[in-house]
């Protein structure tokens, strides 16, 4: 195993890892706010909003992400009449599937965070004269995000690994280049390199969330 070979395969794989990272960031920055919107809908006093959100969460958590991705890539375009307007770039379709799927999980994580907040917090805010908006933004949400942090970290790490599902819709990413190299060169090495790259990415995330947790320790 020469260094030259190692560099040869690592180049395209890092290129693929860039796609992985882009998908990760797009999915995480969109699914967290969207998930929070669903949390608010579930908790809403307007019952139809709660039903919609609950149904949404049930469907998105109850079916495989892979199915959802295939649905957006190859399913939508074959719908009669409107299908032709629903053709998306495969990477865009995958991003959409990831966002919608992860939003459902984040919605449940944030809901758990809200449940963990003692009702005395709302009462203290009320007797101090804070309105609903201030109670939510200054008292409840900061605590909710703090409580949710470990679970969000977990979800973010799962998301990094789930990006490998792009393989199924033939968007070239990290795993795609590894597989190609293994097939071509008949060596296990590219898989090891891919594993190490995934580990490095999750390591960065782990450290990042550890840092956040320490920063928001409130001690």
């Amino acid at each position: 195993m020469s260094l030259e070979y190692f560099l040869n395969i690592t180049g395209p794989m890092l290129e693929g890892a860039r796609t992985t990272v882009v998908l990760f960031f797009l999915a995480i920055v969109t699914s967290i706010p969207l998930g929070f919107v669903f949390t608010l809908m579930v908790k809403s006093a307007v019952k139809p909003l709660a039903w919609i959100a609950n149904a949404y969460i049930y469907v998105m958590r109850g079916t495989p992400l892979l199915l959802q991705m295939l649905f957006f890539c190859f399913g939508l375009p074959v719908i009669p009449v409107i299908g032709e307007y629903l053709v998306m770039d495969r990477f865009a379709a995958a991003c959409l599937a990831f966002t919608l799927n992860y939003a459902a999980y984040f919605a449940e994580i944030f809901r758990g965070g809200l449940l963990a907040i003692d009702k005395g917090q709302y009462e203290a805010a009320q007797v101090l004269g804070l309105g609903r908006w201030h109670t939510m933004t200054r008292i409840i949400l900061p605590q909710m995000f703090r409580i949710a942090l470990p679970a969000v970290s977990n979800e973010a790490i799962t998301l990094v690994k789930d990006t490998a599902l792009l393989y199924a819709v033939a968007v070239p990413e990290l795993l795609h280049f590894a597989q190609t190299a293994v097939n071509r060169d008949f060596t296990i090495m590219p898989f090891v390199v891919a594993g190490v790259i995934y580990l490095l990415m999750t390591l960065v995330l782990t450290l990042f969330f550890k840092l956040l947790e320490r920063k928001f320790k409130f001690e």
């Binding site: 005395g120 805010a125 101090l128 804070l130």
Partner: protein
């Protein structure tokens, strides 16, 4: 009429089929310290929470300083309710400090958001009150690093930040280790001396006896007996009061 700052008349409150407040009436004069005692589940806390609008009653009236918080079971608009309840501060059994804010943050948040005061003025007042409760060196600590007694003193200072005319205490020492109740009671004693109007739901008979102007005994959702501490502790008239006092004293 006007001489009472709190007038509660025929208050009724049920949780489902359970009638917690049957026909509760209460008068508190300005600067008066009223201790409410009684067995668990007698409705003491519910009565107090109704004053702060943390419970919605089913009937009766609450008048705070001449303003109707509720009249014959009917509440005014939300804005009106907020205006009236802003005249009262409340201290909870479990402190209910905001864990994500420092002690100073706990004190300053509500005045910053609700009152039209400058940040400098609020900070100065926070320093004053921290000193008053003996926690001037804890301003930058988070609640998780404080003892129970310190937390409750912060909670009292936080309530005072809003300059309430009335302070409501819901079993302020019940969650504390016995050796920590003294420091909290000391602060309350000081407030009584400064003529703060206080309604204190408490299990601290010693405090009720020493500080309260009037002690009221509640059982099964009604006030059974009330009087000066000497009367109520010295010669309770009602059999239920006697039974209760025998058990706790």
């Amino acid at each position: 009429m006007d001489k009472n700052i709190i007038e509660v008349t025929n208050l009724r409150k049920s949780f489902g089929a359970l009638e917690v407040l049957k026909n509760v009436s209460l008068r508190v004069a300005p600067s008066e310290v009223v201790a409410v005692i009684g067995p668990s589940g007698s409705g003491k806390s519910t009565m107090l929470r109704s004053l702060a609008h943390l419970e919605v009653v089913n009937g009766g009236s609450i008048v705070i300083g001449g303003q109707d918080l509720v009249r014959d079971g009917v509440y005014p608009s939300g804005a009106k309710v907020r205006e009236i309840t802003s005249r009262m501060g409340m201290v909870f059994q479990h402190f209910n400090l905001f864990p994500h804010l420092t002690v100073r943050g706990n004190l300053e948040l509500a005045p910053k958001l609700v009152k039209q005061l400058s940040a400098a003025e609020i900070a100065r007042r926070a320093s004053e009150l921290l000193e008053k409760v003996g926690l001037q060196d804890k301003g930058e600590s988070y609640p998780s690093n404080l003892s129970g007694g310190q937390k409750q003193r912060v909670a009292i200072a936080r309530a005072l930040m809003m300059s309430p005319e009335i302070l409501l205490f819901d079993e302020p020492t019940s969650a504390l280790d016995p050796e920590l109740t003294g420091e909290v009671l000391q602060v309350m004693r000081q407030l009584a001396k400064e003529r703060m109007t206080m309604v204190v739901v408490t299990h601290e008979m010693g405090f009720a006896r020493e500080v309260a102007d009037r002690v009221m005994f509640m059982a099964d959702g009604e006030f059974i007996e009330s009087g000066t501490p000497e009367q109520l502790f010295g010669s309770p008239q009602h059999e239920r009061t006697q039974l209760f006092l025998n058990r706790v004293l």
